[in-house]
Amino acid sequence: MEVCGSSGVSLREFGCEQSLLSRPDGSASFTQGDTSVLAGVYGPAEVKVSKEIYDRATLEVLIQPKVGLPSVRERSQEQCVRETCEASLLLSLHPRSSLTLVLQLIHDDGSVSFSKTLCAVKFVVNPLLMFLVECSSLAVPQLLSCFLNAACMALMDAGLPMSCLFCGVTCAIDTDGQIITDPSAAQEKESRALMTFAIDSKERKVMMSSTKGSFSVHELQLCIAVSQKASEKIFQFYRDSVQRRYSKTL
């Protein structure tokens, strides 16, 4: 929500709670500003023979919106979250089993306009590429980063083996060319480009990106750098909240 120059990044306050649901094997709720998401993980559990993969676990992500039934927008968000999770989970340790991740949106800031968006999933950024191809899928960037954070905390709570953690960061480029991290709904509406990146914890690389609007290569690189800096804060927050949780038994 804060404007960031080259000096520092500011994010809205976050809160998180783990193990709040009794039925799932792992659960977490993640709150970023006014957006709140509840995640539940089931697994490794039995899988239908039609869906089983012989050497890996089958990951299924379900996103439930606040009102109504899931639609195309939720499907595209599910795909983004699933690709990120599959990249960080060690799926080969549980072949022929299923992992189910259910994300329920509890409260959001207000939705964003449905203009044409650009979706690019699971790639490592090559600074020489230009991303001006447009497709017509729908994605709400700021919700997506909240989903990613909640998903990561729930997977940690369930004790599923992972090779790295991930977090979601949203950036907006407003009409002046300023880069804003973690924009609010009002700022999103006025921006000319919105991007969400999933950043991994080991080397701060980009695992997934979902973008909307038009921007230049240089701006993309700046946004990625800014998101990587913002992800430090989120990872530190993960560490602190997990430490607080385990300090009870130590």
Partner: protein, 226 residues
């Protein structure tokens, strides 16, 4: 201190012995030992490291004794639900004194206390109700009149550890029969149904309590306040 980042332990550290025994939650990647779960790292001298987890989902491991529920009885084997991602198989000959003529009396829905002989990620898990010398050693079908419930795997390991505090606190309450399955299932039977329920509730709630709170709770129950 828990972390899931690259917590690396150098295997070439000169004060540590050459062999390091890694328990669950740790993986070897090249010449480094990497953490792969969000748990507390425990270290036992001289060279054992493992992650102590609070997870609820059981993953079968060889040699662990569990409480299973018989779901299917087909021909020569029983299918047992052990809480993992697949049902385990239990042969009818894997009981003490069982022969082709003398089949064990196992029905669908029975509780069995058994041990894994095959449990890895690639094969279907297999259980047996006897140890390597052919004796039952406490394993087999059980369970009239008791209550089966689930707790987290961490509590089960705390109950089974030597000099367990939880167990000694529990022994001072009511006399009861307790079967502990490492898949997070506990079976309790006491002389009265009320006492059985009290013990079941206590064990389920002391999962997330500190030692202090637990002793306080047990003391209140012993005094009959609850």
């Amino acid at each position: 201190f828990s972390s899931e980042d690259d917590d690396t332990i150098s295997l070439t550290d000169h004060v540590k012995p050459e062999k390091v025994v890694c328990g669950p939650g740790l993986r070897r990647s090249g010449d480094r030992l990497v953490v792969c779960k969000s748990d507390v790292l425990r270290h036992k001298q001289p060279n054992m490291f493992w992650m102590e987890s609070q997870q609820r989902r059981y993953v079968p491991a060889k040699g662990e004794t569990i409480i299973g529920i018989v779901t299917v009885k087909s021909g020569d084997i029983f299918k047992v639900d052990c809480g993992g991602s697949e049902q385990a198989s239990l042969s009818y000959l894997a009981f003490e004194g069982a022969t082709k003529r003398n089949r064990p009396n196992v029905q669908v829905g029975d509780l069995v206390f058994a041990q894994f002989i095959i449990a890895n990620k690639d094969m279907e898990p297999e259980l047996v109700c006897m140890d390597s010398s052919g004796r039952a050693n406490g394993m087999g079908v059980f369970g009239g009149g008791g209550l089966l419930f689930s707790v987290s795997l961490g509590l089960v390991r705390r109950l089974l550890s030597p000099h367990s505090e939880v167990l000694s606190d529990l022994q001072q309450l009511f006399p009861c029969e307790l079967v502990v399955g490492m898949n997070g299932r506990l079976w309790v039977k006491s002389s009265r149904v009320q006492q059985t329920l009290v013990i079941a509730n206590l064990l389920q709630s002391c999962d997330t309590m500190t030692a202090q709170q637990r002793r306080e709770l047990f003391r209140r129950v012993a005094q009959g306040a609850l």
